[in-house]
Symmetry: C2
Subunit: 320 residues, 2 copies
């Protein structure tokens, strides 16, 4: 039997106290033209402006600051080729401790460069789960570092929940909250915080149709893995864990999916109308809003723009 | 003999009163990593978030609101393929009057689409100065519309000066102000406002080396036209007018130029580090800051990010 501890809103508040001097309190932006086009009142919480360019820094810094000095001195480790690795690297650097990252040899050079920029030590592995876990375990045996999972981690989820808390402090009467879902760390933390602050708010997970494992899990009640996901939203490839699935089932209204073409249009819409850079994963909830105009007509909607890390040399825009 | 009236700071304050309910008070952003890289304390006034995506809306709306009802009823006209045309179109639409634009037939479709989106009537002309002026004059004879020049216009300059005023209200102790210069409307208004508020501030015009007519005019004391400018900063192709040249000579410390490669690097820097979209013209003062680290070391520097309108299908980024 698997047991785990589900964070409460008090845990998220404590995380917020712990990290608030370390993170940016990111702005909430609006767009008159997107409101015109969508027929809703949309508010955007800009975690693309967070340190390392993504909400992931909240969870990583909360996990790092929650370590005892003895644990911290042995460092932290993770396997990731994305924003979590960069976030953990910076959080470790700020505490003055080591960070070890197991990264597939096929990861884009820009990702490895970002992690190295923040001072982490990278060990490359084969691009498969077995090699990644073997490499990580070897690092941990060698160093005694604490493994900080990207989302299946109590302190990480508590940190991620602080964005929704700030959001509802600034816009208390949000009726709907749209959050992208991959592993479910951001969605879990957001849903716990939002429903504690505003019991009537409806929280929706937003997922690419081409990586709809969370949607299928939610509707069937059985945790499905993500099988051969193929989406531009490369932050949303992972599956829920038992922990995040339990939180999502209890606190989330529904999981809505959108096709790739809608994600791309939504990304372009935000770039063109708001003049801010969001990564494809952040465009997923925007696409959900644009594809469900009737469902959400006239509502006060919050969208968490989860990050802004894109490879500018390889953008997906073609002739409109 | 040419005579003209040079705006005073009182004129800019009056413009600000006139337009403040019509414009966005744009945010001032900072970037820790750009400060680290440049060795200065940089503040960015984000006119890329202004209506129509550029500071041009300030001048256009001030010009439109300064018309008498009789003048306004006959509409406004301009020749431009850029941000001024879109700005004038929206300003006219908001006042409920007509806007006529003479635009070269070679202008990008996206530019014509933007102007049409705001309700202006476009007349296409040949892509040369004679055809443009003939077409504009024909429109004015036919309609009685008032010509609103993109920068050689008292009310336009007063409107553009309101951005620097907001900037210094928010960051009163700026020591340096960097402003891009094409026709000199923004630089003129900014310099008048900044020096009235902070007499010791140094205002620099920032220009592509490949379109350095303002720099040569400034240093020689004779107004040079822009001859075959060839720069990615397509908002800075035009030359100063007698009016803007007179203001710039009196109020600006110097005009600094930067090569194309620096403009492109600066644009990429802002996109990657700040996650905001700026057009190439806005990257010119950022490039000036990065290329003059010793000159500006440790200073509190203000940069006006003039606009954010880019063709996303045709971006200049290549493998880094």
């Amino acid at each position: 039997m698997i047991t785990f501890t589900i964070p409460s809103f008090t845990d998220i508040r404590n995380a917020h106290l712990r990290i608030s001097s370390e993170i940016h309190r990111t702005p909430v932006l609006r767009s008159a033209s997107i409101n015109d086009l969508s027929g809703v009142q949309a508010f955007f919480k800009c975690e693309n402006f967070q340190k390392v360019g993504a909400f992931k820094y909240r969870g990583a810094v909360n996990a790092v600051l929650s370590l005892s000095d003895i644990e911290a001195n042995r460092g932290v480790a993770t396997h990731s080729s994305g924003n979590h690795a960069a976030a953990l690297a910076l959080a470790a650097k700020k505490r003055g401790i080591k960070c070890y990252v197991a990264m597939p040899s096929t990861a884009p050079k820009t990702k490895a460069a970002a992690v190295r920029y923040y001072g982490a030590e990278i060990t490359f592995c084969e691009p498969n789960l077995q090699s990644r876990e073997d490499t990580l375990n070897m690092i941990i045996r060698r160093t005694g570092a604490t493994f900080i999972h990207p989302f299946d981690n109590f302190n990480v989820i508590c940190g991620q929940g602080t964005a929704a808390r700030e959001f509802l402090e600034e816009v208390p009467d949000l009726e709907i909250l749209l959050v992208p879902v991959g592993g479910g760390g951001l969605l879990s933390g957001s849903a716990i915080a939002a429903r504690a602050i505003s019991p009537d708010i409806q929280v929706f997970g937003c997922e690419p149709a081409n990586a709809d494992d969370a949607c299928r899990s939610f509707h069937s009640g059985t945790l499905f893995p993500s099988v051969n996901p193929n989406t531009i939203a490369d932050g949303l490839l992972t599956s829920l864990s038992e922990l995040t699935f339990a939180i999502v089932r209890k606190n989330v209204q529904d999981i809505l999916t959108v096709p790739e073409s809608s994600i791309l249009s939504a990304m372009r819409l935000v770039w063109e109308r708001m003049k801010i850079i969001i990564e494809p994963s952040s465009a997923v909830p925007v696409a959900v809003m644009m594809e469900n105009r009737e469902k959400f007509a006239g509502k006060k909607m919050g969208i968490i723009l989860s990050g802004g890390n894109c490879d500018l040399s390889n953008l997906p825009f073609r002739e409109a």
